[in-house]
């Protein structure tokens, strides 16, 4: 099941998400303990791929804190994942301390970015109670908070929590490439 899902996600990108529930996967906390997605997820779960050295990801640190604060009380569970192989756990831990994250940051156990076909930081995936991805893409449409026009992630969460279908389920923004364990390279 996981292999088929992974293959579909790689071939079709986010479009494949609609087809089947997200398979279970493992995340590693910064103390080295492994956790299954099943044990961490909420009724609605947001997986956010972040980075230490990416200025775009860092531009969203405050917004990620606000999102976690605003939606945790509504039953949304945020899983912040660093999948960059060039950023050691000690660096991730120190960064989280310096930034003052109030949420845990997890490491990719090896294939999580691949399972999601995550390519850019920050990149988000909203997963509903049935395990289906209802939104994939950017937190909002501008690195510069003063220029935000579309709150893609918040809009999707608000609709989902209101029991409505997500109107815009896919957005994109410029960001840093995810430094996966197995590099991705698109070639025609």
């Amino acid at each position: 099941m996981k292999l088929a899902w992974l293959l579909a996600a790689s071939l079709l990108g986010a479009a494949a998400f609609a087809a089947s529930p997200v398979p279970d996967f493992q995340l590693v906390d910064l103390q080295g303990a492994s956790h299954s997605f099943t044990s961490l997820k909420g009724d609605t779960t947001v997986v956010v791929f972040i980075a230490v050295r990416c200025p775009v990801s860092n531009a969203y640190n405050r917004r990620m804190e606000a999102l976690n604060k605003d939606y945790s009380s509504k039953g949304v569970k945020f899983l912040f994942v660093n999948a960059n192989v060039n950023e050691p756990s000690e660096e991730v831990k120190e960064h989280a301390r310096q930034v003052g994250f109030t949420f845990p940051v997890y490491r990719d156990s090896g294939n999580v970015a691949e399972i999601f076909n995550a390519q850019v930081t920050p990149e988000t995936y909203v997963i509903d109670k049935q395990g289906m991805i209802q939104y994939h893409g950017a937190i909002d449409d501008s690195q510069n908070e003063a220029r935000i026009r579309k709150q893609g992630l918040r809009a999707a969460l608000d609709e989902l929590l209101a029991g409505k279908p997500v109107t815009v389920s896919e957005t994109k923004a410029f960001g840093c490439s995810v430094k996966r364990a197995r590099p991705h390279r698109a070639t025609e």
């Binding site: 410029f174 430094k179 991705h184």
Partner: protein, 179 residues
């Protein structure tokens, strides 16, 4: 055509809005190329919007073209620039750079390109909606940088390099596109 001041005294060559049925975008890009040729855009970047991109590769018809979408905030993009310049000196292809920076980073982007002696043409994306621009370049592209797109002499995209790429792979792909 419409030339207007666009922030900090730079010159904007925009294709939007355009007069109906005038082939405006292709025309403005031709003019842009002349301005670039005469170094009138030196020390600044040429704003490029979505319709402008659609005609960009077309305007280099007959040449193998490597489009580099980069940004000042992207470390691997900055590291890649001198390697692309070296490749450009070695092989007969057109190198087009498009900065994905915000307008306030334009001066820093232009200075960096000067420092690395990156050839013209040098563009900076102009879009109210980055998703529209990203999709105009490639609907399959996530927006992750660095991003290189290689086009053959007929303007067909033949390779994409997203994220950190081995210069040898890029060189091999360009070689393959050249006769």
């Amino acid at each position: 055509m419409r030339l207007s001041n666009y922030g900090r005294g730079s010159v904007r060559v925009s294709s939007e809005p355009r007069p109906s049925g005038s082939g405006w975008t292709g025309y403005s890009l031709t003019v842009t190329k002349w301005l670039v040729a005469f170094n009138l855009f030196a020390a600044q970047l040429v704003p490029l919007d979505r319709p402008g991109f659609a005609h960009l590769v077309e305007s280099h018809h007959g040449k193998v073209v490597l489009v580099d979408v980069w940004a000042t905030w992207c470390d691997p993009c900055r590291e890649e620039l001198p390697k692309l310049v070296a490749l450009h000196k070695k092989l007969a292809f057109d190198l087009i750079t498009i900065s994905a920076d915000e307008p306030e980073q334009e001066a820093a982007a232009a200075a960096l390109l000067d420092r690395e002696q990156v050839p013209q043409p040098r563009y900076i994306k102009r879009s109210d909606d980055d998703q529209v621009f990203i999709d105009a370049v490639d609907k399959q592209w996530s927006g992750a940088l660095p991003a290189l797109f290689l086009y053959d002499r007929k303007g067909a995209r033949i390779a994409s390099f997203i994220g950190d790429s081995d210069p040898a792979d890029i060189e091999a792909a360009i070689h393959k596109a050249l006769p």
